[in-house]
């Protein structure tokens, strides 16, 4: 099976953000970057699928600046065979432009499965996977928390609000991955050494018209500081009073 995984460079989840001086981006000083969380689950699922037998190849793609090389190297160190950077001058927030660049590169790649994260950490759009599928004319299943592929078809399960779907689809297909599929492995020392010699190709990204721009980034308003109202069951009457009179939810 041939599997492509589209991955993105994103800040580590522990990050406390500051806005950069331009006002249109985060201050990257001191911020650790990694593979965006859901994308790392997708990489892990791809590797496990190949390791289960039948052979094949996993290739990772990223649209981004040179800084994304490190992100692709991380995937190589996890066991991915090769990587492609579709290079841009600056991070791109326009989902359609990213999808166009990925589709142009994935077209004719002969992949049975093209995996995405359900949503990227920074843009939080949850759009690039479905758009890429549409541009490639492939079937797509979003936000999958259980997935089996083989014999030219796939079965998946996904959660909706208050419901769950079981789904069948033919391969080749695009699938975007939710949590629950697989926890990403840590690269071994051997993996890290091997990754240095694996192919990482760089090409210009074919973004086309970029029609979404960042006007401003801001931190959301702080919550009022927390307040401890008491200890143990003795504090319950006071809590109930506050829920009735102040929060007005009771």
């Amino acid at each position: 099976m041939k599997i492509a995984v589209c991955i993105k460079r994103a800040p580590d989840s522990e990050t406390r953000f500051k806005i950069g001086s331009s006002g249109t981006g985060i201050d990257e000083a001191g911020v650790k970057f990694d593979i965006s969380d859901f994308d790392s689950y997708a990489v892990e699922f791809a590797l496990q699928t190949i390791e289960k037998g039948g052979g094949g190849e996993v290739v990772v793609y990223s649209v981004g600046t040179d800084a994304s090389q490190e992100t692709l190297r991380k995937a190589l160190s996890m066991g991915v065979e090769r990587a492609v950077l579709l290079k841009t001058d600056a991070p791109v927030f326009d989902s359609m432009a990213v999808a166009r660049a990925l589709a142009a590169e994935l077209q004719g790649g002969g992949y049975d499965l093209i995996l995405f994260g359900k949503v990227a950490a920074d843009t939080a759009a949850g759009a690039v996977g479905a758009m890429t599928a549409e541009l490639l004319g492939l079937p797509v299943v979003n936000s999958v928390s259980k997935l089996e592929v083989g014999g030219g078809k796939g079965t998946a399960r996904r959660d909706l609000e208050g419901a769950a779907e079981s789904i069948e689809f033919p391969l080749p297909a695009v699938v975007s991955i939710d949590e629950g599929i697989a926890r990403p492995r840590y690269p071994s020392l051997k993996g890290i050494m091997a990754a240095k010699k694996k192919p990482l190709e760089t090409k210009p990204a074919q973004l086309g018209d970029v029609r979404l721009s960042i006007v401003k980034m801001e931190l959301p308003a702080d919550r009022p500081p927390g307040r401890i109202i008491g200890e143990g069951a003795a504090a319950v009457p006071e809590l109930v009073r506050l829920l009735q009179t102040e929060a007005k939810v009771l």
Partner: protein, 328 residues
């Protein structure tokens, strides 16, 4: 003047609350850009047209019903093709939806089919000359971005719950339309849709959420959380990743960075430490209660009402007190 197409979601043939949100948002956008028409498009099995007629109450000038047996389950392939077709033939300036799980299946594909600009999961959207300026939370909700999208048409989805359905009655014309792509030919087939919340509201819709963490010690103790939810009556039950990892609750109950994002009126955190990844999913709750035996737990930094104490002592007492308050 801009005509707006609103995608009104259904599940099992019934309109969802998100349908009213989409139509309300579309009405506001149309009115803010000179009072164009709002066309609401609805998909479902036979009979959905009659149920969709109420969308006129929320400001739809035209309600387009696309009826087909297969639309009892979700069919993004055929639905997105039909919406794109209608947006083209109707010359719509904006296509509006809600960024629910199913809305996220449809809207990006409609944008790709139309070659349209796309803004996802917005809190608000305002026309600014030829452009649309939106506010959208990114970086796990830790940053609010103001984005500008240009080009016509533009597809935009609103965050579920960001728009309050508002009545604005129009005498809506009813139209019907045939699917632009045969649902029987869809490659992706939903075999089954199962209800997963047993008699409780979903996390996205519940005004009150009682959420449990590892402090509950074992799966069976979640009944403390459920009993408190029952005492409130209209509450959903959530959990931390520590809990879903243990398999005490399904992943669909997880709140946080890699789970659901919620903003209820009241969020009660029971035995939850308040890790940054958990807070990412609930920090916009209106009021937060925390019950934790460790007074240094980070959850107390954001809790409006913190009680330092043992959940096995405090929660049953709270349940009794809430029952009593409710019966008055």
């Amino acid at each position: 003047m801009a005509n707006v197409l609103a995608y009104a979601e259904t599940r099992a043939g019934e309109l969802r609350k998100t349908a009213l949100e989409a139509v309300t948002a579309a009405r506001q956008l149309a009115d803010a850009t000179g009072g164009g028409e709002v066309h609401a498009i609805v998909f479902g099995p036979a009979g959905v047209a009659a149920k969709a007629a109420q969308l006129g109450q929320y400001g739809a000038d035209v309600v387009v019903a696309v009826e087909h047996d297969r639309y009892t389950n979700n069919d993004p392939e055929s639905i997105s093709a039909t919406i794109a077709e209608r947006a083209k033939s109707g010359g719509h300036r904006y296509v509006v939806g809600v960024a629910s799980q199913t809305g996220r299946d449809i809207a990006p594909r409609v944008a790709a089919k139309l070659g349209a600009a796309f803004a996802s999961d917005v809190l608000e959207a305002k026309a600014d000359g030829d452009a649309l300026v939106v506010r959208h939370p990114g970086y796990w909700g830790k940053v609010i971005m103001t984005l500008k999208v240009t080009g016509s048409p533009t597809v935009v989805t609103y965050r579920a719950g960001a728009v309050t359905p508002a009545e604005n009655a129009k005498s809506a014309r009813a139209e019907s339309m045939a699917p632009a792509a045969d649902p029987a030919a869809s490659r992706v087939v939903v075999k089954e849709t199962t209800q997963s919340t047993k008699g409780r509201p979903d996390l996205a819709e519940a005004p009150i959420i009682i959420s449990g963490g590892r402090g509950l010690k074992e799966a069976g103790n979640f009944k403390l959380v459920e009993e408190l939810a029952d005492a409130f009556g209209n509450a959903a039950v959530g959990a931390t990743r520590a809990v879903t990892d243990e398999g005490w609750r399904p992943h669909s109950d997880q709140i946080g960075q890699t789970g659901r994002t919620v903003s209820p009126q009241l969020y009660v955190a029971v035995g939850i430490s308040g890790a940054i990844q958990h807070i990412a999913g609930m920090r916009t709750s209106r009021a937060i209660v925390a019950i934790n035996k460790d007074k240094e737990a980070p959850i107390f930094k954001i809790a409006d009402y913190g009680i330092v104490g043992d959940v096995f002592e405090v929660v049953p007492a709270l349940t009794e007190a809430v029952k009593k308050a409710k019966s008055h």
